[in-house]
């Protein structure tokens, strides 16, 4: 079973090593002669205003809420999509039709949200 996950572990390993190595190597090998100007957020630009703990707009939350529902839809497409050829050989065209109906039902909701302006950013 572990052999199946070997590619996942390799990608995970490369990602961790790459992320840690790039940050560490710039700390270790880069010359560091800090001045107050260099340490400021923008070396040449506007002076930063306020704190980093600003409230974000509620619009992000609404979009995230819609995103989760689309996320859940994709979850059910996933077991169908990864082995579509095998499923098609086994059950024929009905595999395509049942997924089509599922998606059409969902797209009605998509159109409703679109018409209502749920994706608008204002």
């Amino acid at each position: 079973m572990l052999e199946q996950y070997l590619p996942v572990f390799i990608v995970l390993g490369i990602a961790i090593v790459f992320g840690v190595a790039t940050v560490l190597s710039s700390i270790i090998f880069g010359p560091q002669r800090p001045t107050t100007e260099k340490l400021s957020t923008y070396e040449s630009g506007m002076k930063p205003v306020g704190t980093t703990k600003e409230r974000v707009s509620i619009k992000y939350y609404l979009i995230a809420m819609l995103f989760i529902i689309f996320d859940l839809e994709v979850i059910f497409v996933y077991p169908w999509a990864v082995q579509f050829k095998k499923l098609f050989h086994e059950f024929g065209i009905s595999v395509f039709i049942s997924m089509f109906i599922f998606l059409v039902i969902f797209e009605i909701g998509y159109l409703y949200v679109y018409k209502k302006g749920g994706f608008k950013w204002d």
């Binding site: 079973m1 572990l2 199946q4 996950y5 703990k53 409230r55 974000v56 509620i58 992000y60 939350y61 609404l62 995230a64 809420m65 819609l66 995103f67 989760i68 529902i69 996320d71 859940l72 839809e73 994709v74 979850i75 059910f76 996933y78 077991p79 169908w80 990864v82 082995q83 095998k86 499923l87 086994e90 059950f91 009905s94 595999v95 049942s98 997924m99 109906i101 599922f102 998606l103 039902i105 969902f106 009605i108 909701g109 998509y110 409703y112 949200v113 209502k116 302006g117 749920g118």
Partner: protein, 162 residues
């Protein structure tokens, strides 16, 4: 100790240590970010138990979706980061009694359960079987699920836009 065990303990360590950080860190933003590693560790444990589809769902829905909502919830709330969260020790006696009873109950269950002795180490991938079942035996519930998701989407849309 096989490779399987090493990977299991690695994921268990990630899960438990980050879960500890979730409840002890005073800054709620750090707490929410620690939760990311807890959920990721649990996904790894699911994968090790042979439930590859559940692991993917855990990653996509919980790490990719629910956690985003939580972090937005933190970021939306005014001055939540300035609130001092109490993580000190108080009410020791009632807490000891409560945790003792609950812990004893859990231990009793743990010792008396007939653990299902599945050989998960060489179980096949479940995603294809799931696809087969969804397309054949459970195709009506599958379509009904589309309607349930549609209702959820309509509800979310009508909350989002009055």
């Amino acid at each position: 100790m096989t490779l399987y065990d090493i990977i299991f303990y690695l994921f268990a360590l990630v899960t438990i240590s980050s879960a500890y950080l979730v409840v002890t860190v005073r800054n709620i933003v750090y707490s929410a970010f620690s939760l990311l590693f807890t959920l990721f560790g649990i996904a790894g444990l699911y994968a090790l138990l042979g439930a590859d589809f559940v692991a993917i769902v855990q990653l996509i829905v919980y790490v990719g979706g629910i956690l985003i909502l939580m972090i937005f919830g933190v970021m939306l709330t005014n001055k939540i980061t300035n609130v001092q969260i109490k993580t000190g020790v108080f009410q020791i006696l009632p807490a000891t009694i409560g945790v003792g009873i609950f812990g004893g109950f859990l231990l009793a269950v743990l010792l008396n359960t007939n653990w299902l002795n599945l050989n998960v180490k060489d179980s096949p991938a479940t995603t294809f079987q799931l696809g087969q079942l969804l397309m054949n035996e459970w195709v009506l519930p599958f379509e009904l699920l589309g309607i349930v998701l549609l209702i959820a989407l309509l509800g979310a849309a009508s909350i989002a836009r009055k």
